[in-house]
Symmetry: none
Subunit: 240 residues, 2 copies
DNA sequence: CGCGCCAACTGGTTAAGACCACTCTATCTG
DNA sequence: CAGATAGAGTGGTCTTAACCAGTTGGCGCG
């Protein structure tokens, strides 16, 4: 999926372009962009298609292509007070590190992180706590090469993504995420302080940096009574 | 609506093909399908891409393309290929109407739909069925004034939003949606043919048309083993 | 007999170009 | 001056034709 070189280049170019614009502004015509970027129109259109699907761009036949209605794509947010990624104000939450260590990637993780199966992977399991109440369990896997020198205390508070950027030069840029309904098992229930088989949101997220490298693969479980996901949808033509 | 002619033809062909197969079976190679259907490979691939995005097909580089597990993975943002809850394949799903009638809005719904509490509201409860398997329960409430003359049969198949546009001149444009984890109660479990207290996604959606009028307020429950929500995120600054 | 290599599949990406359909505007005509 | 119209520009679709990159299995060599 991530394979294409040119397509990624075009995509990144467009992302930068969009970042400087206000919602609703036009982007250059497809034919102009082709010339400027030195790619064919199908390639360009494939890249634009991606962004249209994500809601960052909107096409209008005969008129042009425009930056999407919601500018900064905080596509998802969660109650109580923040998004899945920008939790409550710093200082209001903390993490208890349950596990922190190196493991070989193995076949599964190697695929997820696009590494060799023998590559060392840092695995961190942490319990997220807001106002003394456990809210979520996060199981984070990331290529050790990216974060050599990271210690558990680094992940107990503060913004991890900011740490990545400032100390390791990793500029988190995009993520693909799937959410599903699930229930807690015995240990999860205990950690989250809820009954067994309690409703929960299972989230899988793969995060990439500005160069398209995979930064982390995360499996999280959020208490169903404390988190909801809200999103805004924009339709263009038909739907069911 | 659904864009291309050939692409639709290919898509329909593949849907029929998939319908006869069990999950995990291979479909013919892309080059063979091109010959058989008389289309070019990019066109064919575009059609396959749609189905891969919908989760009906799975590609494996160097091996082939296979019918997917019967789990519907939805893109959260509005995509050309379908809305959140309607599997892209028209004709593959149907609805059983469980309830269809007028009720006064009452205080709660009046707020949700921005109507007077005395205004008549059409309430429809339907069971969504894909390939003979119940997948979701939808409880739809909409201002009766918007859809006078609507009959139950209108909501048993086909695109409801298209019907709204073509017959009632209502141009569905945006929706705000919240998703949460929940479990089925007794009657829900029976309708969905799953055990009681089974994981499920609860979804609330408020839909508006191009003029900003509220078109519908929907509460749905999706089987947790058959639905997941996927979304793409773009970061700006920092996060946790 | 076993191992390794290579050929023939598979999907993945890109190119270049043609033509259609829609929208806007500037110009021509009444 | 107002309306109709033609052209230019836009996105929408499709074709032909390459080449790249994994996967598989059979053939030949050791």
């Amino acid at each position: 999926m991530r394979a294409g070189l040119k397509r990624d280049r075009v995509r990144d170019f467009l992302l930068d372009f969009i970042a400087d614009k206000r919602p609703g502004e036009a982007i250059p015509s497809e034919r102009d962009l082709c010339k400027e970027l030195g790619v064919s129109r199908p390639t360009l259109r494939a890249a634009i298609d991606d962004l249209v699907r994500s809601g960052l761009l909107v096409r209008e036949h005969g008129r042009g292509t425009f930056t999407g209605p919601h500018r900064v794509t905080q596509a998802l947010s969660a109650t109580p007070s923040g998004s899945f990624y920008a939790p409550p104000a710093e200082g209001h939450w903390q993490s208890r590190i349950l596990e922190f260590g190196l493991i070989p990637a193995g076949p599964q993780l190697a695929t997820r992180l696009q590494l060799s199966p023998a590559a060392p992977v840092l695995r961190v399991v942490r319990l997220r706590i807001v106002d003394d109440e456990p809210m979520a369990i996060e199981r984070i896997q990331l290529p050790h090469a990216l974060v050599e020198g990271l210690v558990p205390a680094d992940m107990e508070s503060g913004s991890f993504y900011r740490l990545l950027r400032e100390r390791f030069g990793v500029d988190v840029r995009t993520a693909v995420q799937t959410i599903e309904a699930t229930v807690t098992d015995e240990t999860e229930a205990e950690l989250l302080n809820v009954p067994q088989h309690f409703p929960a949101l299972g989230v899988e997220r793969t995060t990439r940096d500005a160069d398209g490298r995979i930064v982390e693969f995360v499996r999280s479980m959020y208490r169903g009574d404390r988190y909801r996901v809200t999103s805004e949808l924009y339709f263009d033509a038909d739907s069911g």
